[in-house]
């Protein structure tokens, strides 16, 4: 229960205990939804379970962030941020083996459940009017099955059930920030971790030409050419000009974008994917001209 500690002018600190009854009522109720159920050939069955109030193992979360390619954050801060979030929604994969095989190993693991964190999203809120969804992530090996969509949909539903009317988010791709700061080395790691094209196909229906082109490009670039060889061919200089001349990559058009430095282009394509993704879920970008703004302090 958060306490309001007021330091008054005369240095007497006064602790105000908010009535605890009200707070308990308004906390999101535990809610579990089985999103998917399937049986593998080896007799194990897998359930994908959404939960809006499950405990999150921060080490598991860190492993998931690593897989997705997000930068690491101090665990103590992650713990605090989860605790201070109004809702922490998770996707878990629960595998149960039924021991249909004859091997000893199958019998040993018979009926045992294995629970793995494969997705997370969280929302901060004032518990009354506004909520903001942050940090939506899905394990790359589970992407492309509509799980990200289901996750956000469930979070929105849960928030609406709590009568929170103003649900917002900032569509961005964390990988961008990361890769702007750490450059090329990270890009290739990210490429391995985040299959953007698959994501796009899964959520906006159909394969568009850009993604095909991208995949081809990726195949061509595997293994990627060194930047030195690109620079010597004048490609980088051209790409720099193309990029610095326009403030928004959108202006370049998709065709040319595919030719621009693959690292930058991938990051920006990813953003379109994310905006599209949320638009399909009922979110509107800049409604009535309202702009999302970020503090960029000059201190």
């Amino acid at each position: 229960m958060p306490k309001l500690v007021c330091f008054l002018k005369n240095n007497v600190s006064q602790v105000i205990e908010p009535p605890s009854k009200v707070a308990e009522e308004e906390l999101p109720q535990q809610q579990e939804v089985v999103l998917l159920e399937r049986t593998q050939n080896d007799g194990t069955s897998e359930q994908i379970v959404f939960s809006s109030a499950a405990d999150v193992d921060v080490y598991e979360l860190q492993a998931l962030c690593d897989k997705v390619g997000w930068p690491r954050r101090p665990l103590s801060k992650v713990v605090a941020s989860l605790r201070n979030s109004y809702m922490v929604a998770t996707l878990h994969s629960i595998t149960t083996s039924h021991g249909s095989g004859n091997c000893i190993l199958c019998k040993l693991t018979d009926g045992k459940e294995q629970k793995q964190l494969i997705g997370m999203a969280r929302a901060t809120s004032d518990h009354a009017f506004n909520a903001t969804i942050w940090d939506v992530l899905v394990d790359p090996s589970y992407q492309g099955q509509g799980l990200g969509k289901a996750l956000v949909e469930q979070v929105v539903r849960a928030l609406l059930r709590q009568d929170i009317g103003n649900i917002t988010l900032f569509a961005d791709n964390k990988a961008r920030a990361q890769f702007r700061s750490s450059g090329r080395a990270r890009f290739f790691q990210m490429r391995a971790g985040v299959p953007f094209f698959r994501f796009r196909r899964a959520f906006s229906g159909g394969v568009d030409r850009t993604s095909v082109r991208f995949r081809r490009l990726m195949v061509k670039l595997h293994p990627p050419p060194s930047m030195a060889s690109l620079a010597s061919s004048g490609f980088v200089v051209w790409a720099m000009k193309a990029f610095s001349s326009s403030s928004s990559v959108r202006d370049l058009g998709f065709g040319r974008m595919a030719l621009v430095l693959p690292s930058l282009a991938l990051a920006d394509l990813a953003l379109f994917v994310f905006v599209d993704f949320y638009r399909n879920l009922g979110f509107e970008a800049d409604p009535d001209g309202i702009k999302g703004m970020f503090w960029y302090p000059r201190y």
Binding site: P74, H127, T168, S263, M293
Partner: protein, 203 residues
């Protein structure tokens, strides 16, 4: 290698700094989110420059408050109504203020009476990484006298002192310029602010 310089631009928007600035205190595990009702902080970082100091405000008969205790919700609702914000139910407003990370309001000594705000701003978030600023209002009678700037600067300073680097808000078109002046950038790196729309969902 010049090419390298292009590939590694400075991280202009420290949305997720890989290494946090050393001045950021790591919150203790047990600490519940606190509303710190004073700006006195134990951080070593430079305080943000204020365009109007507390003393100057005091000279104008305005007191800076950082705590929802003593705030007259009816008076706040009246200010909301005057600037065209929707009126909020007092009980829910109270709940929202209890779950607000940082809050700054200005109280005018005089005819408005005790607890009546002339300017108000609050921020919600996870208290660690992110904060979103909501409900920034200035009484129309006092708009254009620097009070909006005064509350926002103090709110941002309080958030920054707690190590929150990712501070965002949703700005109506007519106030985008105001926030720009305070150091906000619209859609930095193309990040889009999005709002869930019920009407679209009803289709």
């Amino acid at each position: 290698m010049q090419v390298h310089g292009f590939l590694l631009p400075p991280n202009r928007f420290p949305l997720l700094p890989s290494t946090p600035p050393s001045s950021i205190p790591i919150p203790t595990q047990s600490a519940a989110p606190l509303i710190r009702c004073t700006s006195t902080s134990n951080t070593t970082s430079q305080p943000l420059p204020l365009s109007i100091s507390d003393a100057e405000l005091a000279a104008r008969g305005i007191r800076v408050r950082r705590c929802s205790a003593g705030l007259d919700l009816e008076a706040l609702n009246a200010v909301f109504a005057r600037v065209g914000f929707p009126r909020r139910e007092a009980s829910r407003l109270r709940v929202a203020l209890e779950h607000t990370d940082a809050l700054v309001w200005l109280e005018e000594n005089g005819e408005a009476g005790e607890g009546a705000p002339v300017a108000f701003a609050r921020a919600t978030g996870d208290g660690v990484f992110n904060a979103v600023v909501w409900d920034v209002v200035v009484d129309p009678a006092l708009q254009g006298t620097g009070l909006g700037k005064a509350v926002m600067e103090r709110l941002l300073g309080d958030l920054r002192d707690r190590g929150i680097v990712n501070i965002a808000l949703y700005a109506e078109p007519k106030v985008v310029g105001f926030y720009r002046m305070l150091g906000f950038a619209a859609d930095p790196d193309g990040i889009k602010g999005m709002v869930y729309s019920r009407r679209k969902n009803k289709r």
